[in-house]
């Protein structure tokens, strides 16, 4: 009986190493409201919504109070409820309340908590003059009028991503969150990962909406609309329509896109197969020559930009491969060019549906042009697609699934698992092991490539030697690893980097993933891999056909590499 206990509203609760009372309160099934508490970020104690009362009537914030044996905590007393309502009222008094036209309408934490507490009136006038929003970024929009100063974005940006593009400035009632000197966010060291917008409890940071432009082209009869869907989107979109967390809704999505007016719908996983082949060959080539190792993956645009800003000296180590989205986009545009009857002169536009906000920035980059124009015309996020589906009136839960189109209709399991951290590495291992990999699929899965650790390692035998591979997600983790490699403290042959912790399934374009959702989404990705007929990218008949067709000879390098 040496276990420590405390009581929460009379319920005895064991203390199992929790760092704060809040975690124990939630463990016993009480949902205290919070704006500024996330277990993966440092404790900030700003919002004061999680206040509790001890037996002496003392009020404390449960997020920043460590549990002690014998503590008696109450979470629901008249004093506490009055406190919380007052805080809410004061936050709302200073908040631009144009909820109906706000991007976060129905997804706003402030809105839902105010609803829960039955707040029907705000007694105080808002004296803060309205400020113009910052729309300089390709990926995110900032609206200071909706900021509640919880600091979640600041801590996400500096602690998890080690970017620090925004911070608090000024003091007291003048305090705000801003880049230095109120610079437009696009001119800072922001890498467009969008994690700030994912964690923002209100509409203060949102994702740039490109759906209007997509609709415009969908309504235009002279434009052939082609969609490609990234692997991670299929296991998250269902969340938006009340389907079980992590459901694979690929088929339903294809059919919804067709109904909305897309002419062709493909799977970006097919493009990922091309990436595996190109990147693995580049890797093997560097291994043979013993140069520029480790090879860093380059498919994550936020990581690419982070490396450009912070590790210019390592840029040679980044793979010259385009991302799966860009590779596939180039193939689709080339295919359209070759197959378009000249007279009709219809224009083909490619829309990429991505779990990612940085893809919006990537599509506009100079490197990715197809005959003077953007290879990918628009990149929209999972959430934007959900809005388009709603707007079109499609009842998503009832729509019948459909298959993706030919001639690019096949993707291997390797291509699909790109959407989760470690997936690229696993796919590359399968490819370089070749025939042998088929007997060792399970063993490869257990080399250490799977799971949600921020830094993972795998060692695989290859041609009588050992290959050391590292997988990192979260840019702070990536930065630490790069610094270590530079200092000669460790050596790797191959490093996969994803900017978002957990990989693309937790991208900022996705519906926000709580911990459970993360696991469900990853499981579904691996399930899709298990159910795929083809496991290794090089055995995908679509890629084989491409290499014998439009990717013949130097075309492969021209279309699939950025340098």
């Amino acid at each position: 009986m040496n276990r420590k206990y405390m009581t929460i509203d009379g319920i005895p609760a064991p203390i199992d190493g929790e760092k704060n009372i809040l975690d124990i309160i939630r463990k016993v099934g009480i949902e205290l409201p919070t704006f500024c508490y996330y277990s993966e970020l440092s404790v900030y104690g700003a919002c004061r919504m999680c206040v509790v009362e001890d037996k002496h009537g003392e009020i404390m914030t449960s997020c920043s109070t460590p549990p002690r044996s014998g503590m008696e905590i109450k979470t629901n007393t008249p004093k506490l409820q009055q406190h919380r309502k007052m805080i809410l009222e004061l936050i709302l008094a200073d908040h631009c309340r144009d909820c109906t036209t706000c991007e976060k309408n129905f997804k706003c934490k402030l809105q839902s908590i105010a609803q829960k507490f039955g707040l029907r009136e705000v007694r105080f006038e808002n004296y803060t003059p309205l400020e113009k929003g910052d729309t300089s970024s390709k990926s995110i929009v900032r609206d200071k009028n909706k900021c509640i100063l919880c600091g979640d974005c600041v801590r996400m940006c500096s602690e998890i991503q080690k970017v620090g593009a925004i911070d608090f400035a000024f003091r007291g009632s003048k305090m705000q969150i801003t880049p230095a000197f109120d610079m437009p966010i696009a001119e800072t060291n922001c890498v467009n990962c969008g994690q700030c917008s994912a964690i923002c409890p209100t509409g203060a940071i949102g994702v740039k909406d490109d759906t209007k432009k997509v609709w415009q082209d969908l309504y235009d009869d002279n434009t052939i609309m082609v969609a490609q869907i990234a692997p991670a989107v299929r296991v998250a979109l269902g969340d938006e329509f009340g389907l079980p967390v992590g459901s694979n809704v690929m088929g339903k999505m294809v059919s919804a896109l067709k109904r909305m007016g897309f002419d062709k719908v493909y799977d970006t996983a097919t493009g990922a197969d091309l990436t595996v082949i190109e990147e693995a060959n580049e890797f093997l080539d560097r291994l043979r020559k013993g140069e520029r190792l480790p090879l860093f993956t380059s498919c994550c645009p936020a990581w690419f930009q982070y490396a450009e800003i912070n590790h210019q000296d390592m840029m040679d180590h980044l793979s010259s491969c385009k991302s799966p989205m860009q590779m596939f986009g180039s193939v689709l545009k080339e295919h359209a060019k070759n197959n378009m009857p000249r007279k009709k002169a219809k224009k083909t536009k490619v829309v990429a549906i991505m779990p990612c906000t940085a893809k919006k920035y990537e599509v506009a980059r100079e490197e990715f042009r197809f005959e003077e124009e953007q290879t990918i015309d628009y990149a929209i996020t999972t959430q934007e697609l959900a809005n388009m589906i709603r707007e079109s009136g499609i009842v998503f839960s009832e729509i019948l699934p459909e298959a993706v189109d030919m001639p690019f209709g096949i993707a291997s399991g390797s291509g699909i698992i790109f959407g989760v951290t470690g997936g690229v590495t696993e796919a590359v291992i399968r490819y370089i092991m070749g025939e042998e990999a088929k007997n060792y699929l399970k063993a490869i899965a257990f080399t250490g490539v799977r799971g949600f650790d921020g830094v993972k390692e795998a060692i695989i035998p290859y041609n009588g030697r050992e290959l050391k591979l590292a997988i990192v997600s979260g840019l702070a983790n990536a930065n630490t690893l790069v610094e270590k490699i530079k200092a000669g403290e460790c050596h790797y042959d191959f490093v996969e980097v994803m900017a978002c912790p957990g990989g693309c399934i937790c991208g900022a374009g996705q519906p926000y993933a709580e911990n459970r959702a993360k696991n469900e989404r990853a499981n579904e990705m691996y399930e899709a891999d298990r159910m795929s007929n083809v496991k290794i990218s090089s055995e995908n008949p679509t890629t084989t056909a491409l290499y014998n067709g439009i990717l013949k000879g130097h075309k492969a390098h021209d279309l699939l590499h950025y340098k």
Binding site: A169, R171, T178
Partner: protein, 164 residues
């Protein structure tokens, strides 16, 4: 006033502090001592040297009233508005100075960078209230009239200096 930024000087200041967990406030104070404000150019340089984001340094610099991001005048006049000075009529002094120099609550420094007028919460000389300081020199028991006279004296002094 129009000193150009000397990066050697910045390096000299930085060399006095440990590179691990650098004391941003102390460093900014030293820099302000040198330039009498925090020039915009130093932020990027500090960020790179200290491996701290520009936004973080800006955050510290804007938090403290003492740091100024705009150039200050040759003469910095501080009017104490602590309780003792306030009840002994410090505000009329402030108003007289602002009127005389064409300044306001939003504009603290004259266009020719001659004078900066600001309030402080307490100078710790309550027995001499109301107190003002001009470039650290303390003037006790001031009135609006005495202050304007003092200002005119400084102006004369300044005009003579400029002639030479």
């Amino acid at each position: 006033m129009d000193k150009t930024i000397s990066y050697e000087k910045l390096d000299e200041i930085l060399s006095q502090y440990p590179s691990e967990n650098p004391a941003i406030v102390a460093i900014l104070q030293d820099i302000q001592e040198e330039y009498r404000y925090l020039p915009k150019e130093i932020f990027a340089y500090l960020a790179e040297k200290l491996k701290i984001s520009i936004a973080k340094i800006y955050s510290v610099a804007t938090f403290y009233e003492n740091f100024s991001l705009t150039p200050k005048g040759d003469y910095i006049i501080k009017i104490c508005d602590g309780t003792a000075c306030h009840v002994r009529k410090s505000i009329p002094i402030l108003e007289a100075l602002r009127k005389e120099l064409g300044l306001s609550a939003a504009k603290h420094t004259t266009d020719d960078l001659g004078f900066t007028v600001e309030t402080v919460s307490c100078l710790g000389a309550c027995g001499l209230a109301p107190v003002i300081t001009v470039n650290e020199k303390v003037y006790a028991s001031m009135t609006p009239e005495k202050t304007v006279a003092l200002l005119n004296e400084i102006r004369k002094e300044r005009a003579n200096e400029n002639k030479e």
